[in-house]
């Protein structure tokens, strides 16, 4: 029983971090129909910046989030206007190619700056855990999970309670209708993209403590994150959270009860089965935009 609870706790904690990492990806897809293959590369970029700040001035990765989020927001906004805005009306395949190109470009740049070697950030609490009886909760994962909750809650509040959020949702559901009522869909898209990249900034800072990374690590992240948002229902924020928690728990249960070598395969088999039964994902719905742009 202890082993089961332990696996469940570790799975939920990791799932929380996955949720943070996937939130930006699903947001960008939901609003803009852009499958942002560069999301993993943004994350690794943030991880490298976190590493540099930690090495240079000993800045704690959790505090680095405060710097990284606005910096990545600005970076995302500029990148959107420079690269994605011109192809906004192109079919989604163009955005896949373009963002893949951006990912490769960033991978190259990171390789030049930080080298193609493995890095990891190890703050003082990296080896410590909170203990509850027999169970242990690794501090880094707990902090990561808490940051994930804060960021996701803020995102949720922005989306549901602010004018910007309403504009984002309106643009997602019916861009033509949103334009009609005075929403500048192009600007909203830029802001959404920037918010998505900013969340990758926070996620990257956390991931840098939990996993070793090198410039090429973005491939494995984007594969996992796409699995999560497909599982949750593409474009749905709560769906991404549920998908992430499911995948985290599925991974840990696999490690514990089937064997660690299956930790990559089994969760994807789970995604596959869910999609067979429910092709739109757990919380996905057929959006009005699918009809409107058809």
């Amino acid at each position: 029983m202890t082993e089961f609870l332990q696996a469940l706790i570790l799975g939920l904690l990791i799932g929380g971090v996955y949720a943070l990492l996937a939130s930006g990806l699903t947001l960008i897809f939901g609003v803009m129909n852009v499958i942002n293959i560069a999301h993993g590369a943004f994350l690794i970029l943030a991880a490298f910046v976190t590493w540099s700040l930690w090495r240079a001035i000993g800045l704690d990765p959790l505090l680095a989030i405060l710097l990284l989020t606005p910096a990545m927001f600005a970076f995302g906004w500029l990148l959107y206007n420079a690269t994605i805005r011109p192809i906004r009306k192109a079919p989604p395949a163009a955005s896949v190619l373009l963002t893949f190109g951006v990912a490769l470009f960033l991978e190259g740049i990171m390789g030049v700056i930080w080298g193609n070697t493995s890095h990891s950030v190890r703050p003082s609490y990296a080896n410590d855990s909170f203990n509850i009886g027999e169970l242990f909760l690794p501090k880094a994962q707990v902090y990561g999970g808490l940051v994930a909750i804060v960021v996701l809650a803020s995102l949720y509040l922005v989306l549901t309670r602010s004018w910007l959020g309403r504009a984002i949702r309106a643009s997602a559901v019916n861009p033509q209708g949103a334009e009609l009522v005075g929403v500048n869909v192009a600007s909203v898209a830029a802001l959404t993209f920037a918010i998505g990249v900013a969340s990758a900034g926070a996620g990257g800072a956390i991931a840098s403590v939990l996993y070793p990374f090198l410039p090429g690590s973005h491939y494995q992240w984007i594969a996992r994150l796409l699995g999560i948002i497909v599982l949750g229902g593409m474009g749905s924020l709560p769906g991404a959270v549920i998908g992430a928690l499911c995948l985290g728990v599925a991974e840990l249960m696999t490690v514990t009860y089937i064997g660690p070598e299956w930790a990559t395969g089994v969760p994807y088999a789970f995604v596959f089965i869910v999609l067979l039964l429910r092709p739109q994902g757990i919380l996905g719905t057929r959006l009005r935009q699918d009809v409107a742009t058809a």
Partner: protein, 412 residues
């Protein structure tokens, strides 16, 4: 039309980037001119194996410098290393060795780092009938292909790497001998056979296996494994690791508050400073590992190698992988000097000579069986008071005591 333009632009960008990312050549600073003997190797200077790859490059460069200072390799001809970067990629390395042979027209080859990369690279050398001595490729499967040109320049293949240590443990007095063992292992052609070799010896001695699982490098989930280990509570953990996962496992065990009495890891603890910085100096106390080289060893030429290494690259540490690469080049040098040729057509003679003779290297004397497998024994290392010491065999020991087990709280 507009869309098509963007598509083409995106594809071109990607193509340019991919082309730009493909390996650079590094001529290693050898003598220019037609006279130099060109020796080619492709090493993982970037990517997953870049730490050992860079160290191996240093080892080859030290050898190049020392051989040239002594007047060259053969007929007064100096050595020029041609080193490529295979990016830790099995496809790139095949292209690299093909290019070294056909485009760069090197006279001789030296091996690369890790079994994973030597597996395809040695096949290229074999097909071209060129001698291939490798510094790190101890997976038994490398030698199951009846190759005639492949030689491994360390003391033993992976399945035998933990032998000396495992025998030491099984010969401990009854009260100190562990009863149960766990074997978490990376899916790697080197780490896995090492841990299986140890398990075989332990099982025969009655040490029960309570956990054996393999994980993959892209999804190690070490916290989950540490939690499973804690639940099974083995006396000894034998961890088949490379660097990052080796560090990750120690950290995961600490997070899980689980301290097995004895901890043995492959590869990671032999990486000196890097390892102790990554897990914390105190945490290293008592961790066992196998190692091929010791800076303090009194093997012939070791002192000169260490001095030259420190002169060229500074620092106190001499990475094991640099020493292995140096020894590999020593083996090649011995064969070339004894047979007196670097002729492409006569490389089988070099290989035959190695099969029949023993070569003195900084790792100690090396000799091989018909399939190129070395026939020696590894050294056993243990971290003591923040320093990696050799504890077995006794004649090579740099410390006169062996700590009974892992004390992650530090010495004292």
């Amino acid at each position: 039309m507009h869309k098509l333009r963007w598509l083409v632009l995106a594809l071109l960008t990607m193509a340019a980037l991919v082309a730009g990312a493909c390996g650079d050549d590094d001529d290693g600073g050898g003598e220019a001119g037609g006279e130099a003997v060109k020796i080619g190797a492709s090493l993982p200077l970037t990517g997953e194996f870049s730490e050992p790859g860079k160290a191996a490059k240093q080892g080859y460069e030290v050898w190049e410098a020392m051989v040239n200072e002594k007047g060259g390799l053969i007929d007064g001809r100096k050595v020029q290393m041609v080193i490529k970067d295979d990016q830790s990629n099995q496809n790139t390395i095949v292209a690299d060795y093909n290019a070294l042979i056909s485009r760069d027209k090197v006279d001789l080859l030296l091996g690369t780092f890790s079994s994973l990369l030597n597996l395809p690279a040695s096949a290229v050398a074999e097909r071209n009938r060129m001698l291939y001595v490798e510094p790190a490729g101890g997976a038994p499967e490398l030698f199951e292909r009846d190759f005639k040109f492949l030689f491994f320049a360390q003391q033993a293949t992976a399945d035998k790497q933990g032998e000396v240590w495992a025998n030491y443990i099984t010969e401990l007095p009854e009260a100190e001998r562990p009863k149960t063992a766990a074997y978490p292992t990376l899916d790697d052609p080197f780490a896995q056979p090492t841990s299986e070799g140890i398990e075989e010896i332990f099982s025969k001695a009655g040490i029960k296996t309570v956990y054996r699982e393999t994980y993959t490098i892209d999804n190690p989930n070490l916290d989950g494994i540490a939690s499973a280990l804690k639940a099974r509570n083995p006396d000894v953990v034998v961890h088949g690791a490379t660097f990052e996962d080796g560090v990750g496992m120690v950290r995961a065990l600490r997070k899980a508050n689980f301290t097995p009495k004895i901890l043995y890891q492959t590869t990671a603890p032999s990486l000196g400073d890097q390892y102790s910085k990554a897990i914390g100096k105190d945490t290293t106390e008592g961790i066992f590992y196998a190692v091929s080289h010791s800076k303090e060893a009194s093997t012939p030429g070791n002192e000169d190698f260490v001095a030259k290494y420190q002169e060229m690259f500074g620092g106190e540490e001499v990475p094991e992988d640099a020493a292995d690469a140096y020894a590999t080049a020593q083996v090649l040098e011995a064969a070339v000097k004894a047979v007196g040729t670097i002729d492409r057509e006569r490389q089988l003679e070099l290989a035959d000579w190695l099969r029949e003779n023993e070569v003195d290297t900084i790792l100690g004397p090396l000799s091989w069986d018909d399939l190129g497998r070395p026939e020696g024994e590894f050294l056993v290392g243990q971290w003591q008071s923040g320093v990696p010491e050799i504890v077995l065999p006794e004649e090579a020991a740099t410390s006169d005591e062996i700590l009974p087990g892992w004390r992650p709280e530090g010495p004292g």
